[in-house]
């Protein structure tokens, strides 16, 4: 080892030179003592260096002996993640991740979390929203319970507090073709009410939803839902009946006695007009006790609210270019009959919207809103929105929405909403 021999030589040389120089300069007992001291110090140093050098040499040898063996795998171009032809001939069995004790994880539900970040700019004196908000984070847990049922849980986390958005059991194999749900669920009133925030084509909900159908939480309650298909040779016809406790978060319905249940009925008709075009129509009815008659915690008015709804969706998606082009036109009309002190208020509202897919990742849309207020039908709000949505991938969306609203108070609001939606975890179903 070249390096070590040079060092060793210089150490030895230094040992020889030093005593000679010292001898030449001074003579005396003290001098001899000093020389002895230096010599021992030099000896100690030499031992130290030799030990260090030996260690270094050993290390070097080790590195040199292992290096040639290590290079071939490093140079191999195999991608670390997807091994080609992993399964041997005819072995299609599903891979098991982990084994033994980890086997129980296989039965864990599919878990996904969807983040919804919402920013709002502009001026709105009637319904102001925060400038920046982590609007909602939805955690979903979904699995098959047993051969007869599946369960779906959707927990929505606001910036503070958790809410059970939906949590229900679906009995998939009841006789008579009855699809039954038990739990807390979004009521089958119209279309928008059933949709979670992240599958809406807008960053907000239409005015008619805000004014007449309970806003963002909407008609969502604990209860039982039964849906049945009506066999006929012409079209898809499904009737849904729901019995719910009679409470909804925005006080649309309020149950003050056990018998104050709310009811929802929905009839859905669907027909393919062609391979690429289809039409989806629905009529809905709902009835429940409202909060207008409650004075000092006692329901003296015993007032009810009835809702009637009509919804329609037209979809166009050419199958050969299904991932690049599509159009969805939506409308929903709601009539509300709300009893309250001073008589019944009959309010009506609707929205009309169209969403066009311009390219694989780009969507543009418009919406027109008009709705009277449930508790005072002489007041009405109207507005319009223009929406642009970009999908970086199937798992995230960025959306910008310009919204103009003219409120009944003769106050106009011009706002810019921007939204980031992102999903992690299990691959959910695409919305339809």
């Amino acid at each position: 080892m070249q390096v070590s021999s040079v060092v060793r030589a210089s150490v030895v040389l230094g040992l020889l030179v030093l005593p000679v120089g010292a001898n030449a300069q001074t003579r005396g007992d003290g001098l001899q003592q000093q020389i002895e001291q230096l010599r021992t110090e030099m000896d100690a140093l030499r031992h130290d260096y030799e030990a260090r050098l030996a260690a270094l040499e050993a290390k070097l040898a080790e590195v040199q002996s292992t290096a040639p063996a290590a290079t071939p795998p490093a140079a191999a171009p195999a991608p670390p993640t997807t091994a080609q032809a992993a399964a041997p001939e005819g072995q299609g069995t599903l891979p098991v991740y982990g084994a033994g004790a980890l086997g129980s994880k296989i039965f864990n539900p599919d878990i996904a979390v969807i983040g919804d970040f919402l920013g709002t700019g502009g001026r709105n004196l009637v319904a102001p929203a925060p400038a920046l908000a982590m609007h909602e984070s939805e955690a979903s847990f979904q699995a098959i319970v047993d051969p007869y049922a599946r369960a779906d849980f959707f927990l929505s986390f606001g910036e503070s507090g958790v809410d059970l958005e939906e949590g229900f059991l679906t009995l998939t194999s009841l006789p008579g073709g009855l699809l039954t749900r038990v739990g807390k669920m979004k009521a089958a009133f119209g279309k928008v009410n059933t949709l979670h925030n992240h599958v809406l084509p807008w960053a907000d909900r239409p005015l008619v939803t805000e004014n007449l159908v309970g806003g963002e939480e909407g008609l969502s309650d604990a209860g039982i839902s039964v849906a049945r298909l009506i066999p006929n040779p012409w079209l898809f016809l499904e009737v849904t009946g729901q019995v719910l406790r009679g409470d909804s978060e925005a006080d649309l319905f309020r149950s003050s006695r056990r018998g104050d249940l709310s009811y929802v009925g929905h009839l859905r008709a669907f027909q393919d007009l062609s391979e690429s075009t289809n039409i989806d129509l629905g009529v809905s009815y709902s009835r429940g006790h409202n909060a207008a008659g409650i004075v000092d915690g006692t329901d003296i008015g015993r007032f009810t609210t009835e809702l009637f709804g009509v919804n329609g969706t037209v979809r166009w998606r050419p199958l050969r270019r299904a991932i690049y082009r599509s159009f969805i036109g939506r409308t929903e009309l709601v009539w509300s009959r709300r009893q309250q002190f001073g008589g019944r208020q009959d309010a009506m509202g609707y929205f009309l919207s169209g969403d066009y897919q311009l390219a694989r990742r780009w969507f543009g849309g418009v919406r027109y809103d008009r709705s009277e207020r449930a508790d005072d039908a002489t007041l009405f709000d109207r507005g319009g929105s223009v929406v642009v949505t970009y999908w970086p991938s199937e798992f995230s969306q960025v959306r910008g929405q310009y919204r103009h609203t003219r409120y009944a108070e003769d106050s106009a609001a011009n706002e810019l909403l921007f939204q980031f939606l992102f999903s992690i975890g299990a691959h959910g179903a695409h919305p339809f």
Partner: protein, 308 residues
């Protein structure tokens, strides 16, 4: 309240009981490839219908209620599996009101369970890699050997549900396998001179096809599965194709041909629309015709471009 209750119950109980076909087995498949195989094996003892068309992207089928009606009446649902249909089939199954075809039910058949599956990811996978299929590449039907395996599984399932027709199904299976074997020898002979031909494909739809017929897939138009082409990736791909002298770009009929055509112009490669599914083009009317069409199209393109 009584009125409303009555409305709910009347509306839910309305209508006549379901009419179930007792004679023929009703088979619903997710893709036309599976439908073709089911027809080969089932003959006139089964009625077969596919949900997705061969010319549409099987990852992005709409979960239309009209499909619920088809599933409601199905005795058997045959799926490709490996999460190909994860975006649309589960909600349809849930709403089908058909206990037979629920996953794990007697009428649910996942075609991938007996097939040879490629690209099963090893180690850590994340969505940074795009829309990866964690259970392996679901385009496995594009290998005649897997076609035989699926056909065998179908015959087994049909026999299980109609034990009296077992010999009929087995006879039809044997006949189909014989025809497929003969055809496969022919296809292999056509492709044999072109073994090792380098190609680029749009999506990872052809690994099984490439392995069986000796193609060497050296790149993809998509930078990552499910992510549309980016300018940088396209430039890199063009450079790589020039370096390796790749003369063929294979695209599925449902992808936009703009980027592949630009790559073709830049490299002198031919862009070939190669249907990965039965029904992808008119000529590919059944499982055998699909391979006939694809193999002949490829062979003539390789000869023309001198790609080999």
């Amino acid at each position: 309240m009584k009125r409303a209750l009555a409305l709910v119950f009347l509306s839910t109980w309305l209508a006549a009981p379901d009419v179930l076909a007792q004679g023929k087995l009703t088979i619903i498949t997710t893709t036309e490839d599976l439908a073709s195989l089911a027809r080969e094996v089932g003959g006139d003892r089964v009625g077969v219908e596919a949900l997705a068309r061969g010319y549409q992207d099987p990852h992005f089928v709409e979960a239309k209620p009209s499909f619920i009606l088809k599933l409601q009446k199905a005795d058997v649902l045959v799926a490709i599996g490996r999460e190909l249909e994860i975006g649309w089939l589960p909600p349809l199954i849930t709403q089908s009101r058909n206990a037979k075809i629920q996953p794990g039910g007697p009428g649910y058949l996942d075609g991938s369970l007996t097939a040879q599956i490629l690209d099963i990811p090893q180690g850590q996978i994340t969505r940074a890699m795009g829309d990866v299929h964690p259970l392996g590449n679901p385009h496995y039907w594009l290998d005649p050997e897997n076609g035989k395996r699926i056909a065998k599984a179908l015959a087994g399932k049909f026999s299980e549900l109609r034990p009296n027709d077992r010999s009929y199904f087995e006879q039809r299976l044997a006949g189909f396998v014989t025809r497929l074997d003969e055809a496969e020898k022919r296809w292999l002979a056509i492709m044999a001179p072109f073994k090792g031909t380098k190609v680029v494909t749009y999506h990872r739809s052809f690994p099984n096809f490439a392995e069986r017929f000796g193609l060497d897939i050296v790149g993809y138009v998509e930078p990552r599965p499910g992510i549309p082409p980016t300018p940088q990736h396209t430039l890199d791909l063009i450079r790589e194709m020039k370096r390796l002298n790749v003369k063929l770009v294979l695209i599925e009929p449902y992808f936009d041909s703009k980027t592949p055509n630009a790559i073709g112009r830049a490299t002198g490669a031919e862009v070939l629309v190669l249907p990965p599914s039965v029904g992808g083009v008119k000529e590919a009317g059944d499982y055998l015709a699909l391979f006939d069409y694809d193999v002949n199209l490829l062979a003539s393109a390789i000869r023309k471009t001198g790609a080999h």
